[in-house]
């Protein structure tokens, strides 16, 4: 894949349409890298002029802040804002709801003002503009798909419609879980839980959510967050249905059946 960095654009004296903020999970985690590549492929195929920061990107500080380490968060924010403002970045798209929330809601107060979009909204825009067209009778036609609302796109930022609109483009049958929309159940990874063992309880949050998703009878669980992806995949495994139920990101679903 040929992907240009912000530094390369800058060296050529050009500015891209949008910065793709990949996030730590999307950069490092093997499973999440597939989401990143799928989304980058969509951007490339739709002719979107985009750049990544590459080695210059760093953690937004979200997990540190939510765990209580405000110092570390402020340090990360300071450095990231220096880099972003240095390149004159105006528009950012990211596939990670946690990065999205921090860049959109928390950086402005610290001097980082950008138009920030999550890839669900960005994909919806591309579909609405006709820049993404799906294949006739694609591989998801008529298949049951259930959608997991991530907390940081849903409740934290009120985005419930865009991801569902994207799924409609697949011509699949959308089945909702018992807890969905603003009542959606967390995957269990937010608030820095991703990075430590859960507290003692009767079950794990992701087992509970995995079971609920599998109970819908859907063959595909659509997610929009690399953390939810990890947690749900694990949750599905716990039910023993990992062969028949797949967890896929919205970007992966679209990339698979897009027209050339």
């Amino acid at each position: 894949m040929q992907i240009k960095t912000m530094a390369e654009y800058f060296a050529e004296g050009e500015t891209p349409e949008v910065l793709f903020w990949v996030g730590c999970a999307g950069s490092i985690d093997q499973r999440s890298q597939k989401i990143t590549r799928a989304f980058a492929e969509i951007l490339t195929r739709t002719g979107t002029r985009f750049a990544v920061l590459g080695k210059e990107e760093a953690c937004t500080g979200d997990p540190a802040r939510r765990a209580g380490n405000e110092f570390l968060f402020q340090m990360m924010a300071y450095n990231n804002i220096q880099v972003l403002n240095g390149y004159g970045v105006k528009k950012i798209v990211t596939a990670c709801p946690h990065c999205f929330n921090t860049l959109k809601n928390e950086y402005p107060e610290l001097g980082g003002h950008y138009e920030v979009m999550h890839h669900t909204t960005f994909l919806q825009g591309l579909i609405n503009e006709g820049r993404i067209k799906m294949k006739e009778g694609g591989s998801f036609k008529g298949k049951k798909i259930t959608y997991h609302d991530s907390c940081y796109i849903g409740r934290a930022n009120g985005i419930y419609e865009a991801p569902r609109a994207v799924l409609e483009a697949l011509d699949a049958e959308l089945v909702e879980m018992k807890r969905c929309g603003s009542r959606g159940l967390c995957c269990g990874a937010g608030g820095a839980q991703m990075f430590k063992e859960e507290e003692k309880g009767t079950t794990r949050v992701n087992f509970e959510r995995g079971r609920e998703a599998v109970e819908t009878g859907a063959e595909i669980i659509a997610s929009n967050c690399p953390f939810c992806m990890t947690m749900l995949t694990d949750g599905v495994k716990e039910t023993g249905k990992e062969d028949s139920v797949k967890v896929l990101d919205l970007a992966e679903l679209i990339a698979r059946d897009m027209q050339e």
Partner: protein, 428 residues
């Protein structure tokens, strides 16, 4: 004889108002134990929240059936206050149904509406009692409510039913007395609801009926005055504090965490030492919240406005999977601690003595508790502030988090990986 009754009424009313104001001042003091925060911005949006959330009970309608029943009780409470105004004037002036001559036929319509509301309130409260005690609804069965909180809810519901029945009894006896043209009972026409029950009372002699009417009247108003004084000691306080709480509700995007300018400043000086002030004697600020004094007054107002309904905990992923965390309990413990701190107890702190580290650690910051709360309470804000205290003041973090912190600091990512590999996905 009449003057004695008036004096007794005045004494009862004065005592009720005195004790209520004393308690109200105490609650105000306890709320103001919290640190200051400026919530005077955007009055138009705040007014809108007040109208929608408190008056309109918008969030309640997430559960329509319960919302309708609750709305009856709420409307009954607000509107029946008009009737109580008349009772108070009558009690002080020694009159009976003083509004009747002024309102003419409208009076009968008004009382008719009150009676219908009274029935709806009694029926709704009865259904609520069944929901709480018979139906196995998880959030009411929860151990959060063991002891006083569970009885508190039942006392409130039973009292409301009794008060409504007294009101209806009073009107029934009054209605019969009116048909007999008894002195002091002005003819207002048959009441809508109690008119139907008059045959039950027609066998009684006039003095007996006066006795019943007077007894019901006194018990009704004394009950209300007693209830007024019970209210600020119970979860029922939400009928008052839900209003300011909705007005002062957080207006920022739900996902945004409160910024700490003091730390932002320190980081700025560390990165750009040339900006740092030269007189280094500045006071070291405290980070996060250890006790109620470190929380804001809004956090404490939240705690006193909490209705203990448990919608937050019913939606909380940690509570649902059996973790120690229950957002409702976070609010109840914060209130308990504010009460204790208000009494001058200094040997305990909210963190550790009331709320445990295990509870705080179990939060996924999903915001379901905030989303669900009908009276705009924000348990997550308290949890965040206490997590800051743990990590920044007490260096109390699980080992995995300490590792994550050092990874972020050294590798620019929460996982152990080289920053140089960050773009490896491009070439994979």
């Amino acid at each position: 004889m009449q003057i004695v009754s008036q004096l007794l009424f005045f004494a009862a009313l004065a005592a009720a108002v005195y004790f209520f104001s004393r308690r109200a001042a105490g609650i105000r003091r306890n709320i103001l134990l919290g640190r200051d925060t400026d919530l005077s911005d955007q009055p138009a949006r705040r007014l809108n929240n007040l109208l929608l959330l408190a008056f309109g009970q918008k969030k309640m309608f997430r559960n329509p059936l319960v919302a309708v029943l609750h709305f009856f009780v709420y409307a009954g409470f607000v509107i029946i206050n008009l009737e109580i105004l008349e009772i108070i004037i009558d009690g002080l002036a020694g009159t009976h149904r003083i509004f009747a001559p002024y309102l003419g036929p409208v009076y009968n319509v008004l009382i008719g509406c009150f009676e219908i509301l009274a029935v709806l309130v009694a029926v709704s409260c009865a259904i609520f009692l069944v929901r709480r005690n018979v139906l196995k609804i998880k959030r009411f069965l929860s151990r959060d409510l063991d002891g006083w909180p569970r009885s508190d809810a039942n006392y409130i519901l039973i009292t409301e039913i009794v008060l409504m029945l007294l009101f209806l009894t009073m009107n029934t006896a009054d209605g019969v007395l009116q048909t007999r043209h008894a002195p002091h009972y002005p003819d207002t026409g048959s009441f809508w609801v109690t008119g139907m029950f008059q045959p039950l009372f027609e066998g009684f002699s006039t003095p007996t009926l006066v006795g019943i009417e007077r007894a019901a009247w006194w018990l009704h108003i004394l009950g209300i005055l007693a209830f007024l004084n019970y209210l600020p000691w119970s979860k029922h306080l939400h009928i008052i504090l839900a209003f300011p709480n909705a007005y002062f509700a957080r207006l920022e995007p739900k996902g945004k965490m409160e910024n700490l300018p003091a730390i932002q400043q320190e980081v700025l000086y560390a990165m750009q030492p040339e900006l740092a002030p030269t007189d280094a004697a500045a006071e070291v600020p405290k980070f996060g919240a250890k006790d109620v004094h470190d929380l804001t007054w809004k956090n404490l107002l939240d705690a006193f406005a909490c209705t203990e309904c448990g919608r937050c905990s019913a939606a909380c992923p940690a509570t649902q999977t059996g973790k120690a965390l229950s957002p409702r309990l976070i609010m109840m413990k914060t209130r308990d601690r504010a009460e204790a701190a208000g009494r001058g107890e200094t040997d305990k702190t909210l963190l550790h003595d009331y709320i445990t580290v295990e509870e705080l650690r179990a939060c996924t910051s999903c915001g379901a508790c905030v989303e669900e709360c009908p009276v705009s309470i924000h348990p997550l804000d308290i949890i965040y502030q206490m997590r800051r205290q743990l990590v920044m003041e007490e260096s109390n973090a699980p080992q995995e988090w300490t590792l994550m912190f050092s990874n972020i600091e050294n590798n620019m990512a929460p996982w152990k990986s080289s920053p140089d590999e960050r773009d490896a996905w491009i070439h994979a």
